[in-house]
């Protein structure tokens, strides 16, 4: 387990963040947006995990601990998001965010 460099992981997590951002910016379906947010969040979690592996001594532990907490947090966020999706769907019959633009200017 000694040959992987931090740069390669950074590439991966950066790419995932970018994909997440891409999704958030371009998708209109609320559920897709949720998924995009999750992808971005996973990029952050991934960072914590591998930085923990690189950090050494007891510091590294905190990285994994954070990752655990973040997994929980991300799941909670999804739940809240889904609750809003459901309420929105009931309200408007649509979960397309492009149609929810009454508040503007």
């Amino acid at each position: 387990m000694t040959d992987l460099s931090v740069a390669s992981f950074l590439f991966l997590s950066g790419a995932l963040l970018a994909i997440g951002l891409f999704g958030i910016l371009t998708r209109r379906n609320f559920i897709l947006l949720l998924i995009a947010v999750e992808i971005a969040m996973n990029a952050a979690i991934l960072n914590f995990v591998y930085f923990a592996a690189f950090a050494g001594t007891s510091q590294g532990l905190s990285g994994q601990a954070i990752a655990v907490v973040l997994v929980g947090l991300a799941a909670t966020e999804i739940a809240v998001g889904l609750a809003i999706v459901l309420a929105l769907n009931r309200q408007r019959g649509s979960i397309n965010v492009g149609e929810a633009t009454t508040l503007k200017l």
Binding site: I24, L25, R27, V97, T101, K104, L105
Partner: protein
Amino acid sequence: MAVSFGIVGLLGTRLKKLEYGGWIAVGFAAAAMIVGLLVAAAEMLSPGSYTDQSFTWLHLPGSPGTFPNGFSLVMGSLVDPISALMLLVVTVVGFLVMLYSIGYMHHDHGLPRYYAELSLFLAAMTGLVIADNLLEFFLFWELVGVCSYFLIGFYYEKPSAASAAKEAFLVTRIGDVLFLLGIFLYFTVYATAGGGAGWAASGFKFVSGSTPFLAGAMGGNTPLLTVAGLMMLAGAAGKSAQFPLHAWLPDAMEGPTTVSALIHAATMVAAGVYLLVIASLFLGFTPDDRLAIVAVGGFTTFFAATMAVVHPDIKRVIAYSTISQLGYMVLGVGAGFAMVGMYHLFTHAFFKALLFLAAGSVIHAVGTQDLFKMGGLRKPMRVTAIAFAVGALSLSGIPPFAGFFSKDDVLSSVYTAAQSNPAYWPFLILAYATVFLTAYYIFRAWFLAFSGDKSRDPTLPAAHEGPWTMQVPLYVLSALAIVAGVLPFTPSFGSLFSLGGATSVPPTYGTTDLVLSSVSVGLGLGGILLARALWGNGRVYVLAPDSALQPMRTILLERYYIKAGYDWVGLRIVYGGSRVADFFERYVIDGTIHGFERLGTKLSNGLREGQTGLVSDYASYVVAGVIGLLILLLFVAPLIIASLGGP
């Protein structure tokens, strides 16, 4: 002193709007006259002294700077021979005019205002005469100006009167401003020089103890002093209607005739000459100044007389003659003989007042000022005719009338000056030419008005003499117009003309050079004869429509188009420029502001367009911000900080 009389007179007339309001004013004027006479008498008894009383008006303590001795402005009264003389003129003529007004103005409305303004006018003039410093002088000078403004515009409902008043004020204001600059210029020279601690500390005083304040420092001949003198001349030109600031005076005839009499004889226009006299005695003129003064005086003398030659309006003729005569006075001062100017002022005051009051009688009687409508007034208005004739003779310089002595004195003084400086010659010639013109135009007026059998315009009412209040002044002034010339020959009265050493009066009054006197008298008589030939006995000489002289006549009637030129400058250049500036103000300066406002509105609305309501867009702003921050922090900031010299 007399100032307070004037003010009380003002109050008195304001209080009572009744007929006798005027009498109150007359009473005060009489009192002022008596005081004036007493002052003059006192001055005659102890000739050549200065009586100076003053109090501090405004004071700054000294400090190490421009004014080490502090800075003061004072108010005070100075009685010396010239001011006594002038006081005499002002109060006597003032009283007579005031008396005359009782009869002349009785049918006008707004009399309280009239008497109040007239009283204030006199008061201001008196104040000017007895001012003991240049600033106070200026103060009353302005006050005289504003009173003339009110009086000329007395018939304010007439647009022409209102306009003439404005014009008079404005034109004299130009002179005043230059005068003020002159004061500043002298101040620069004398601020710390002269007697006492200098002008700054003692407040522009004329005299210090028994000598002129600036005696020690006077007599310089620097460009600065020359310019200062020219500014004095400009101020005097404004008030005394000298070329090129003469334009207001003929129009000032819009005022009541009494006012014209006062303005022309004793108050306003005299102030200008008085300023020159004062300046020449207390401040000193440089040779260049004197030449300039002579030039202005000489030219104006002739220039004004030419315009008087053709004018049909009786008052305007006299008005032009005033300008012309003022030119003589200025000439005298410029020639270096200040007291000669005063002398002519003294005599002129009486005969000019006489002429105006007589003309006033005529106007009062026939209700018109057009000479060509009058005629044959000799019979119904004998007193007036004689009075006018006395005035006219005096004006023409026919011995033994007063004008002869003083005018002769002016001529001989210029002649004297010309001996040493040939540049004076042209003006001497002009002055002589004017003698002829003067006699011609004034007798043209006399013949047109009084000779013949009846009025040329049959619609005119039957003429009659005025009430006694109008006649008494005529008598008195006639008498004075006859004797005023010889009064200075008496020892006591003569002492008023001999200001402690600086007299500058030729040794005799117009009698030395028999040749010069003969020429001038001859010219005068010639003028009278020409007038009689052309206009005598009710004749009217009409210039043929195709005459070669016709354009010239038009030019003269149009006053050489100078007023038109002024109007053009005022309307086109000044007013036009101001319209352009106003346009600039509204559309460029304010427009810029509005532009900013619109820009703000546009920006605001444009930015708000970004608030689309679409959450993806909001997210994209966030992402754009992140990208921007990344670029800023990773690439731009280190560069900036490095370029600023590190952290």
